[in-house]
Amino acid sequence: MIEKLTHTTVWVLDQDEALEFYTQKLGFHVHTDARMDDFRWLTVSPPKQPEHEIILLEPGPPMMDDESAEQVKALVAKGILGAAAFETSDCRATYAQLSERGVSFLSEPAKRPWGTEATLRDNSGNWFSVTER
């Protein structure tokens, strides 16, 4: 049987800038930053989940033809794609800390039946929930 989800892909517009955002702003750790010729395998992990790798991937050839890559980039840049939900033990403190670092939020922390939740945007345009349960 399948036991775990280990990797998640997040499409980004620029790997260098995404790396800076995910490490310097969000506080994630670099898991792997490796190159095979032109291909850069770049993954980061949330601080308390070092075994889960978020793959920061640029849309492009040979996986995608140029036209498809441009379409995916456009969707990312337009903020259409929502990638995932992050967990925090203190949503308001995390909101304050990340806002201070210049992270853009779409919604401020608000109480929900299951906890407190805010929505942030990464520097490429992907949106994420930040939830305290």
């Binding site: 517009l13 441009e70 980039k73 456009a74 840049a77 337009k78 903020g79 929502g82 939900a85 853009s104 939020f105 779409l106 919604s107 401020e108 608000a110 929900r112 039946p113 299951w114 939740e117 929505t119 945007r121 345009g125 949106w127 994420f128 929930s129 939830t131």
Partner: protein, 168 residues
Amino acid sequence: MRDPIPVYIHLLRAKDMIDREYARELDVATLARRAHASTAHFARSFKQAFGETPHQYLRRRRIERAAELLRGTGVSVSEASLEAGFHSLGSFSSAFRELVGESPAAYARRWRDANAPAIPACFTLMYTRPTGAPEPSRQTQTEQSSRSAATRSEVASPPSTMKEAQSR
């Protein structure tokens, strides 16, 4: 055609500003400045990118925010109207009715009786902005299907109201 990505990045800043600051006075000039665009050019490129004008987007965001309050909290219709940035209860009620398909009071009653499901708020933010269409193109969607996607997105709106979507 020049690379649209940098334009989208700027436009998204203005769109995010609407999502975040919907309750305050937001005119096109303010939003255009956020997107580093001229006022005239901004509204046009916003519509090209997102399929509706900044004003339409803001109006639907306000109604979505008000609907969330009516669903999940005990606020009155007039409180929800103020919280969402409407100046008058009358304009709120008619916008709500037009976009959602029922009055704010009826909507609140229905959801309080039914208990709104616990869907993470970032998803309701993204997926429950009402699509009830004031535009005249609702009956002509299939006729437009042969036209280009870009053209279509400027005129078409999804046909279902939120009420229809929920009852499926």
